[in-house]
């Protein structure tokens, strides 16, 4: 395995990548918070039509976040030349 494959990003690049990921994750989390409060308000008011679509949207947000985090752990595994 060549050196580039073992270490695709430098430390500075990884810092930039994780900052971009963090911004994305934060935006998704804020959207999920808004979705949760809006759904709760609607459900307590008797509107049940929103419950499952909102849960699906929140689940999609979680899947995005988990996917990004798994990508980050994959970057971690490739750092330092397989050590």
């Amino acid at each position: 395995m060549n050196a580039r494959a073992r270490r695709p990003f430098s430390r500075e690049q990884r810092l930039t990548i994780i900052q971009g990921m963090l911004v994305f994750v934060l935006i998704v989390v804020v959207l999920q918070l808004w979705l949760l409060t809006a759904t709760m308000n609607a459900w307590l008011g008797g509107d049940e039509s929103l419950v499952w679509p909102a849960a699906a949207a929140s689940g999609a947000g979680l899947a995005l976040n988990v996917g990004l985090f798994l990508y980050l752990t994959r970057l971690e595994r490739t750092r330092g030349g397989g050590g």
Binding site: R7, R11, L22, L33, M40, G45, E48, F69, R79
Partner: protein
């Protein structure tokens, strides 16, 4: 090599041009203890020889520190995201449970004569944990609402002279006739209890949640 004012040192002794003193040593003989990217870097990016003694004694690799704290924060945010999704699923389960429970029972509250015009009485409906208020507006008009404020579930108090329900916790007010919030923090109307007049008796026959 200088790059944007900082020193870049390749610490590996087996790097090109540094293959031992004679250039004949096997490369793995001088395998470095640390990879180049794991070498401590001070916040001002100057080499450690130029740093004060205390920084040499207690070195902190700031770029790595920044990376690790962002990674941990991201992990925490992903867990927060999971918690919000669990909350959504919890609402779904509660919704399923609410649909599954039977229709509210028909329950006698009081006879017409027991409530004076402008007066009110308390009762529980549809179960013992849901306090409600029956208010007589005129000789022929009755309304009933859940007593829990839609802000934080404090008990609202009827004030017929002001035409409102008053929540003493945060000064919330609801219209006495409709239960719609008119002042304070509540945003949703009070839960309306559907009434039915059968002879001289008043019955609660349903619950109406509203947004």
């Amino acid at each position: 090599m200088t790059d944007h004012g900082r020193e870049r040192l390749d610490v590996r002794i087996d790097s090109p041009g540094r293959e031992g003193l004679a250039g004949t040593t096997p490369a793995n003989m001088y395998r470095p203890l640390q990879e180049a990217e794991q070498v401590t870097i001070a916040p001002d990016w100057r080499p450690m020889e130029d740093q004060p003694a205390w920084r040499n004694d207690f070195p902190i690799d700031w770029p790595q520190d920044h990376y690790v704290e962002r990674r941990d924060f991201m992990k925490f945010m992903v867990l927060t995201s999971a918690a919000f999704t669990m909350g959504q699923l919890w609402i779904g389960v509660q919704n399923w449970y609410r649909k599954r429970t039977a229709q509210p029972p028909v329950q006698r509250i009081a006879s017409v004569d027991e409530v004076a015009v402008g007066g009110s009485i308390g009762f529980t409906y549809p179960n013992e944990f849901e306090p409600c208020l029956l208010v007589r507006l005129t000789t022929s008009e009755f309304v009933a609402f859940g007593q829990k404020c839609t802000h934080l579930s404090c008990a609202v108090i009827p004030r017929p002279t002001e035409g409102s329900f008053h929540c003493p916790c945060h000064e919330g007010r609801f219209d006495l006739r409709t239960g719609v919030p008119t002042a304070g923090p509540p945003r949703r109307p009070l839960t309306r209890i559907v009434l039915e007049l059968r002879g001289q008796d008043i019955f609660a026959v349903g619950v109406e949640e509203r947004t």
